[in-house]
């Protein structure tokens, strides 16, 4: 019975091919430094799941954002845990992604044939920072408000187009309801879409070229 079901699925999905090509593929001997990429991906998925749960109660408007976050912490069953994981997960994700970048740099894994994997990886790193920057504003508390004020100011100091960038980021000359709305949109739609897309290409390239080996005197 199970065997039949498996064969039926295998005919349609190619499960055996997936096993041989994806799971059973040979790799150079690795060590714990090789787990940073998958750890980053795990954190991304975890941030996605907890983030989706948070949007059930969160309201992106200056009048209600703070109170809705307060309600998540106090009123919702295990809301404190979901937000706690999301909050600390963000911090950890920035650290893990950065160490992953350093590891690839030190072992020179970005060299032929993995140049494109590196480029996409930098995109992922910047998008992760973007997620942190946009997510920080959402609780609409003092720390968030003023951090975003200085953050956008720095972006506004670009010569010639600074004022334009500032306007695009803030949705006007000052931080307002529009800023919160577009940071929310960027945080839950645009940047996750960018991250998911880049991650797929990143993973495809890793499977295509295989994980790099740790260099020895030969290399």
């Amino acid at each position: 019975m199970w065997k039949k079901a498996f064969e039926w699925l295998d005919e349609r999905l190619g499960l055996k091919d997936i096993y041989t090509n994806l799971l059973d593929r040979p790799e150079p001997t690795g060590n714990w430094w090789n787990t940073l990429g998958s750890a980053s991906m795990f954190l991304f998925v975890l941030q996605g799941l907890t983030g989706i749960l948070l949007t059930v109660y969160y309201t992106p408007s200056p009048d209600h954002a703070y109170d809705s976050v307060q309600y998540i912490m106090e009123g919702v069953a295990f809301g404190w845990l979901i937000r706690g994981i999301h909050h600390w997960g963000a911090t950890l994700m920035v650290i893990v992604v950065f160490i992953h970048l350093l590891r690839v740099f030190v072992t020179a894994s970005f060299k032929f044939p993995r140049e494109l994997t590196w480029l996409i990886g930098i995109g992922l790193f910047l998008a992760t920072l973007g997620m942190g920057f946009t997510g920080y504003l959402l609780p609409w508390n003092q720390k968030a408000y003023w951090a975003t004020t200085v953050g956008t100011q720095i972006a506004g100091s670009v010569p010639f187009i600074g004022e334009f960038i500032l306007k695009v980021l803030r949705g006007g000359p000052e931080l307002s309801a529009l800023t919160l709305q577009r940071f929310f949109s960027a945080h839950i739609w645009m940047l996750p879409a960018v991250l998911a897309g880049l991650m797929s290409i990143h993973l495809f390239l890793i499977i295509k070229h295989g994980e790099s080996h740790f260099p020895t005197k030969e290399d």
């Binding site: 593929r25 790799e27 150079p28 975890l46 307060q70 994981i85 950890l92 920035v94 003023w146 600074g162």
Partner: protein, 470 residues
Amino acid sequence: MNDETKKKINERYERELNKGEHFWPDSIFKDLVVSLGIFILLIVLATFVGISPEAKADPSDTSYIPRPEWYFLFLFKFLALYGQIPLLGKIEWIATVAIPGIAIGVLTLLPFIDKSPNRYYGKRVLPISIMAIMVTGIVLLTLLSEVPTVSEDGSKLLGILQAIAGLAIPVITMILLFLMSFVFKHTTTRVMVWTTSLAAVSMILVSGTALALRPKPVVEEIEIAVTLVDQIFAGQDLYSIHCTECHGDDGSVAEIKGVEGLEGEKITPINSHDVLYTITDSAMYEVIAYGRPNAGMTPFGKAYGGELTKSEIDYIVVYMRYMWDDRFEIPAEALKPLFPPLADGEVPSYEVHIQPIVKRYCVSCHREGKTNNKYLMTSYEEILTTGDNVASNIIAGDENSSLLQVIQEHEIMNPEKPDEVLIGVMPPNRALKPNIVDVFIRWIMNGMPQTAIDAAALFVAPTPEATATP
């Protein structure tokens, strides 16, 4: 890169694969262990460290010191140090845009800048050394983010130390490393590694000195009411200080008494259905923040020159709703009595009894900046030693003390001009409840003990006969 090198690289990789492992289960196992570890770490952080509560965003609060997210702190510090450089430091965009932009650009284009096929660490001393210096710098600048560049006494020592550790040493080291790689080509790997290590160690030492010399950071305690009960209590305290003066302790005042400039002003009782059922929370917020200047109510929000932050006004609104609006049910814990009831013969203390009562009913007027015959009541000392009529106000053991007279609805007349009222009845709006008056009488009759321990020493156990009579 020519085809031959590429072929060599691919062959080399094939050899590694042949003596390697398999993705499943070798790598997956390690990945799962690390992911599980991260998950447990996050649950522990969320449970035992949590998220520190913050006050609601308040654009009018310009006294708040803005700080970016922790992973941008190093950039913030870098900007501050860069700003100290004479002349060049004035051109802000070099530090905010050009240098970070170049750094990210170089990082992105790394595979096209470093085109040699060499991967072994020993053959890549220059890039690894530069990265080591950069990462050390980033970590140190993050740690130094709290240290000011100019001390309070005007000394620039801290700023100079930080500039040495965060700017001078890294820049000089990088220039040296480039020179060693491209100009003095005979420099050995060992020399470059030593240079980098020495630079990193001296950066750490100088930063450590700056950290050790930094002034003790002033930890500002900000009370943030998180739970509903805490918010109601916070709102009650704020209401007592800012609103009781005109609206009375229970919001029932319809005609203001005893407030200079507003004497006899007719107002709508703010605890009435008319107000509570028709005014939304946000409208109530606006009334408190902006005031009703034409009707004599001054603005209370910081945005309009008042004293209250956004969160504080929110707490007052929450308090008014739960206390007076019959559509809201006040949590039982929020209804705890103002002070523990007194047993027969028990002597009240300032700490336990008088302070909460005074805070609720008196401080609204009896504080700095109000008309109150210079009688302030915000501390034990003030209650006993201030006021124009301090001599007769509180006399231990004397039931004719002015304070006791006025709270029992007896005005004090001016001894020189018998028809002039020297001190009116207190509070002007509404008499205190008998049990509160009783607390004041017992307190003054027994010599105004400050602490609960002093008061307990004065406790006189009632005689059995006295308690037996109902």
